[in-house]
């Protein structure tokens, strides 16, 4: 007797992809996001290997080659592929070293606002009657000022410089993290798993960091990407206004501060640093959009 015939064939097992794999697949389908990621990788490489990639020292002044046009123009030379600025410094080298500063400012200000922002948001969410309203009022006040203006005010008071730029940008991006964390915490606190952990005897700190926080990370990651790009923009704007990183440091915004005088004569001094800012910010925003769609599929069709 053939026993196998009396049994129905086993149901085909449905293999659900793991969340990580699903996220990766969804992200990779978004061409813009992949492009953004590739450009970011290029930028990170430029920043990391700047001393080896740059053809010249970014501060070295070639006095015989002031305002040399890029190499594809008639008067250009292959020695300075993207030309030189008003002091004879190599544009390409300055742009490559500028990537270091922009990424540093972006990263540092995100870290310095993300951590306190999450902490304040957690406190506000867990204490909706006492500390919460106070913290949220404070954030409302900070939001009453346009972010760039508040940053300008802070730097104007503290004085220009790299550290103060990072500090100012970190402060102005704080409210969005606090609000976002608090909002997610408030929704998560109503879930059954939180009640279950409470009943199991989890303390407030454990509830905060082990139970609730990991479930609030998706919107925070997206916000971190977006504020990374606005940090680069704000830092460049501060530099342009003469309130950011001090010259002669090759910062993209600071490079544009003096470029206004060369609008008539040297387009590359004006165009190139801004193009670097635009492309980086665009790449990060594309990346952020891709992350948002991949992390939260519900939002994909809304935006």
């Amino acid at each position: 007797m053939d026993i196998t015939q009396s049994f129905p064939a086993a149901e085909p097992v449905v293999h659900y992809p793991s969340p990580t794999r699903e996220f990766a697949a969804s992200f990779m389908r978004n061409k813009g996001a992949v492009g953004g990621l590739l450009f970011m990788l290029l930028l990170v490489c430029c920043a990391a290997f700047a001393p080896w990639l740059a053809p010249h020292d970014p501060l070295e002044q070639f006095r015989d080659h002031l305002l040399t046009p890029p190499m594809w123009q008639e008067a250009g030379s292959a020695r300075f592929p993207l030309g030189t600025d008003e002091l004879g410094r190599d544009m390409l080298s300055r742009l490559i070293f500028g990537a270091q500063l922009s990424l540093l400012i972006g990263l540092a200000s995100v870290v310095f606002s993300l951590i306190p922002g999450i902490l304040l948001g957690l406190i506000a969410g867990f204490s909706p009657t006492r500390a919460g309203p106070f913290i949220m009022r404070l954030m409302d006040i900070m939001l009453a000022l346009p972010s760039l203006l508040l940053a300008v005010a802070i730097v104007a008071i503290l004085g220009p410089g790299l550290i103060n730029t990072i500090f100012a940008i970190a402060i102005v991006s704080l409210p969005s993290y606090v609000r976002l964390t608090r909002a997610s915490v408030m929704t998560e606190l109503n879930r059954d798993y939180v009640t279950a952990s409470r009943l199991a005897g989890a303390g407030t700190l454990r509830l905060m960091f082990v139970c609730v926080l990991p479930n609030c990370m998706a919107p925070l990651i997206v916000q971190a990407t977006l504020s990374f790009s606005s940090a680069i923009l704000d830092a460049a704007a501060l530099g342009f206004l003469g309130l950011g990183v001090r010259p002669p440091t090759p910062e993209w915004g600071t490079m544009l501060a003096s470029a206004r005088d060369y609008i008539q004569s040297a387009w590359w001094v004006v165009a190139l640093p801004g193009l670097a800012i635009l492309l980086s910010v665009l790449a990060i925003n594309l990346l952020g959009d891709g992350l948002r769609d991949a992390l939260d599929p519900k939002l994909k069709n809304a935006a």
Partner: protein, 336 residues
């Protein structure tokens, strides 16, 4: 309805005091000796120093200083500029129309073009046109506007010579300020060519300032339109044989505009921050340029209370948007 407005207004008061606390604290965060900083010299004579501390009230305890500050503000005393010795309020009101004119022109540019682009992209969803609009809008959103201004000046003013490089009007014209709006004043003055000249001065700064709002509005209109066009009443309108244009503009767009209007209100802060950069590039004599120059000259009275005035402006606009939104949407009005 009045109760709703009163409740919302009540919320403004703590925010206002919070902002005064912020501007008060800002000025006291200046590193170093405040008198030396304000006088711009080191080692001030001790007697002069003590007199200055007395005059500025800096020798009192901090909470008394704050009470003095708010007391003066409530009496309408915003202090006077250290450079020009005129009152901060007077300077603000004389420069504000220039910023307002620029901001309104930018909003007009951003809204007309943004709504149009958003509607077209939504109707042709997934087409090359849609991708183009969305790509351009993301580029606009990522734009460093100070650079964008320089590029536009380089192309349209320097290379093509179509528009003037900076300012509000050519020095040739002597326009008496009646309304403070250059476009209206030039018309009132009756001088030939003055209006066109003022308009040419306005175009580039308005485009630069309107770029980010344009991008935001286009994205918002597109997603709101996509949402609305799926509604039953749109299908009903189509089914009863209305022309496509009527369905899109009367049934679709009118409903899609509600979220767009909210976003518009939120753009005021962006506009004011953008004005700082735009006015600096185009030498536009408004409050943005005024604040930056005050910072450069360490004119702290202007910095402190100028920022306070801008913050109040943003608070008031947000309040107005809230109230308008409540008028349009009863569900919000009756919420507590």
């Amino acid at each position: 309805m009045l109760g709703f407005i009163a409740r919302r207004f009540g919320l403004l008061i703590p925010t206002f005091f919070g902002v005064t606390l912020l501007t008060f604290a800002l000025i006291r965060m200046i590193p170093g000796d405040p008198v030396e900083v304000m006088m711009g010299e080191r080692r001030v004579d001790p007697e002069l120093h003590a007199a200055a501390m007395e005059r500025l009230g800096l020798n009192k305890p901090l909470y008394l200083q704050y009470i003095d500050y708010v007391g003066a503000l409530l009496q309408g005393d915003l202090g006077e500029s250290l450079r020009s010795r005129t009152s901060v309020w007077k300077e603000f009101t004389s420069l504000f129309p220039a910023t307002l004119e620029l901001a309104l022109a930018a909003l007009l540019f951003a809204t007309t073009l943004g709504v149009l682009a958003g509607v077209i992209a939504a109707l042709r969803r997934g087409s090359l046109l849609d991708h183009g609009v969305m790509g351009l809008s993301l580029t606009g959103y990522s734009m460093p506007i100070f650079w964008w201004g320089l590029i536009l000046i380089m192309v349209f003013s320097v290379w093509l010579g179509w528009t003037p490089v900076s300012g509000r009007i050519d020095l040739l014209y002597d326009i008496p300020p009646v309304t403070g709006f250059m476009l209206i004043d030039t018309l009132l003055s009756g001088e030939e060519g003055a209006f066109t000249d003022a308009l040419m001065h306005l175009i580039l700064p308005a485009i630069v300032l309107g770029t980010i709002p344009l991008a935001v509005i286009a994205r918002m209109t597109r997603s709101a339109m996509l949402e609305v066009m799926r509604e039953d009443y749109v299908r009903t309108a189509r089914a009863k044989g209305l022309s496509p244009a009527r369905v899109v503009f009367v049934h679709g767009l009118r409903n899609a505009l509600i979220p767009v209007l909210t976003v518009l209100g939120l753009q005021v802060g962006t506009l004011l921050a953008g004005a700082v950069l735009t006015e600096t590039i185009f030498s536009w004599p408004g409050i943005g340029k005024w604040l930056i120059e005050a910072i450069g000259a360490r004119d702290y009275a202007v910095v402190q209370n100028g920022i306070l005035l801008v913050a109040c402006l943003v608070i008031l606009v947000n309040f107005t948007v809230d109230v308008l939104y409540g008028l349009a949407n009863p569900r919000i009005r009756h919420q507590h």
